[in-house]
């Protein structure tokens, strides 16, 4: 992420970063370490803890031709800046009859697993599918982080770039220079024949673990990483279903109202004949993320739930919500 941002700052004078603890501190997750030194404090800007003005000023700068990267430290805090994203960033281009654009990347990270409690652990990207005008990117591999970011900072519309805290220590090969990855193109992470499991971000890794568990039970799982939720690569899912005929959609977000519902609905409408069984969702239970690890494990969607949903989708066990 740090390299991706450094590349963006190097490549384009219009790019700058703003957020909290970015400069001398280097970002609470080290994503801007050394960047202020290299590019100047005017381009890696520390600012007050004020999400609305951080995001709103980002929009104002973007409509004047800049390409801000705005870092929202925890995804939970994005609730404080929703007006700037929903009412301004997403709409100014359309409302103005395309006289202006708001090219900006809103970077944030979320998710459970570090026991930060209910207000620092949410997975909220589903909110943004409902607002036309925003691309939603959720990378999984280190290479995808760079490839997707390269595209995100170049496109002429706002992009919400959602990282998962638990993935910051992921190791993986990254080519140099990395090729930009188009938004809206998912990728098959594992080939399989019996069931398609679709995820994004950390859920893809969990789906891969679930696939290995299920392999021992004789189940062959195909894993798709959508990489972006808007645009949504429904075609890739439909292609996969043409040979697996079973679908499980996995996300850490609360199952109720999550993006899996949107994908399932699209698949049912456009690929009903390919389905041999009802598609299922593997999402978290509808409660806030609790602190104690036993409690968190009970409600968060993980590889065990994904594996269980696969068994249910294949009729190996009876479905229970």
């Amino acid at each position: 992420m740090r390299e991706a941002q450094a590349d963006a700052l190097s490549a384009d004078d219009r790019v700058f970063i703003m957020g909290q603890e970015l400069g001398e501190y280097g970002g609470v997750f080290r994503a801007t370490e050394g960047l202020a030194e290299r590019f100047g404090a005017h381009r890696v800007r520390d600012m007050p803890i004020a999400e609305q003005s951080m995001l709103g000023a980002g929009v104002g700068a973007a409509i004047m031709g800049m390409r801000p990267i705005v870092e929202v430290m925890f995804m939970d805090f994005i609730a404080c800046g929703m007006d700037a994203i929903v009412n301004h960033a997403a709409k100014v281009g359309y409302m103005s009859g395309d006289q202006m654009r708001a090219p900006m990347v809103i970077r944030t990270q979320g998710g459970s697993g570090t026991h930060h409690g209910s207000q620092h652990s949410q997975t909220l990207e589903s909110w943004f599918l409902h607002v036309p005008g925003l691309a939603v990117v959720v990378p999984f591999t280190p290479s995808d982080v760079k490839g997707l970011f390269k595209t995100s900072i170049r496109v002429d519309h706002p992009v919400l770039f959602v990282e998962h805290r638990a993935l910051y220590r992921t190791r993986g090969a990254v080519s140099d220079p990395v090729e930009p990855i188009p938004l809206g193109k998912g990728v098959i992470r594992r080939r399989g024949d019996d069931v398609t499991v679709v995820g994004i971000g950390k859920s893809v890794g969990q789906a891969q673990i679930a696939a290995r568990l299920l392999e021992e039970e004789g189940v062959s799982v195909e894993v798709i990483d959508l990489r972006t939720l808007v645009p949504l690569d429904v075609d890739l899912v439909l292609e996969s279903l043409a040979h697996t005929h079973h679908l499980v959609v996995a996300h850490e977000a609360v199952e109720r109202g999550g993006w899996a519902g949107e994908l399932v609905s699209r698949v049912v409408a456009e690929g009903f004949d390919e389905l041999d069984a009802p598609p299922l969702r593997a999402g978290s239970r509808p409660v806030p993320v609790p602190f104690a690890k036993e409690l968190e494990a009970e409600m968060i969607a993980d590889e065990r739930l994904i594996a269980q949903r696969v068994r249910q989708a294949l009729g190996m066990v009876e479905y229970a919500p």
Binding site: A50, A57, G60, I63, D83, N87, Y94
Partner: protein
């Protein structure tokens, strides 16, 4: 400036009539009575300075130089409007004139202007961004956030609060223990001045001072322009529930256009203002004709420009 004020006045009167006759639809927020603020502020700016506005923004757009015909066409929801019918009365934008949009989300203009000023600062451009806001915006968190951000980064912003007496139905003193809005500037360490918003010369002077300071790197200022909203919050507003007719009639005696006439009585030869009025009337008539004759947008364009 008289031309601007008169045009704004007649524009609002004409659009109001078109609404009442059923020709226009959607919400309508008249800026009648506040013409001196629009004209005074914008006449102190350069073409490449930018203005962010509010739901009550027709006057700001006109004063910043936006073309009347295209504003009208947008109010009519026509394809020739500034936003091709996607914006309407509360979302006029004319990037060619530095009118970077209205935010009817109260206080939003402060953020757009602060962000625009940040862009100017990063690009080392000597441009100024103005945020028009109403007195109601002072209750919003973004008002304080944007003043603070502009202050700590010494951004070239002029915050203009048009204190027109009412935030919809509420008077400022009902919602703020300290209704002296300009005094809020002290909390952010920036200049705050009160100006008579009926006096176009005073508004222009205050804006010149603030804009010059901003352009020279001195940072933002807050101008509170005291004025009076002649009409209800919007067309059809139940005004009688919160203010007496007599109060409005009294306030209307303090007319910014009449104030201009009185101030310039000895300076402008007879007939000159009448000529300006006639020319403005003609321009509005032409703008309305243009809007009426323009085709509606192709419905399919609704699906273009977003995803």
């Amino acid at each position: 400036m008289f031309r601007l004020m008169y045009t704004i006045r007649r524009f609002e009167v004409t659009m109001e009539r078109a609404h009442l006759e059923g020709e226009l639809y959607g919400p309508f927020h008249s800026s009648m009575g506040q013409e001196a603020v629009s004209a005074g502020v914008c006449s102190a700016l350069r073409l490449d300075d930018v203005v962010a506005s509010t739901h009550r923004g027709h006057g700001h757009a006109i004063a910043k130089g936006a073309v009347l015909g295209r504003i009208c066409a947008e109010l009519w929801g026509r394809s020739t409007g500034y936003c091709q019918g996607k914006g309407g009365s509360m979302h006029i934008v004319s990037m060619d004139h530095g009118f970077v949009g209205q935010s009817p989300i109260i206080g939003g203009s402060g953020l757009l202007a602060t962000g625009a000023a940040l862009a100017f600062d990063l690009n080392r451009e000597e441009r100024v961004a103005v945020a028009f806001m109403g007195d109601g915006a002072v209750g919003q968190g973004v008002f304080h956030e944007s003043l603070n951000l502009a202050a700590i980064w010494r951004l070239p912003v002029v915050f203009v609060v048009e204190n027109n007496g009412y935030a919809h139905s509420f008077r400022a003193e009902q919602m703020q223990v300290n209704p002296d809005i300009a005094s809020r500037a002290a909390g952010f360490g920036i200049p705050g001045v009160v100006v008579d918003g009926i006096d176009v010369f005073a508004v222009r002077e205050a804006t010149r001072t603030a804009a010059a300071r901003a352009r020279e790197g001195g940072g933002p200022s807050l101008i509170e322009a005291k004025c009076y909203r002649w009409r209800g919050h919007n067309l059809g507003d139940a005004e009688h529930l919160y203010r007496a007719r007599e109060e409005v009639e009294e306030a209307r005696r303090n007319d910014p256009l009449e104030r201009f006439r009185a101030a310039t009585f000895d300076l402008i030869p007879p007939g000159v203002l009448e000529e300006i009025e006639a020319a403005a009337e003609e321009e509005i008539d032409e703008a309305v004709r243009f809007a009426r004759q323009s085709p509606p947008p192709d419905p399919l364009t609704a699906l273009e420009g977003s995803f």
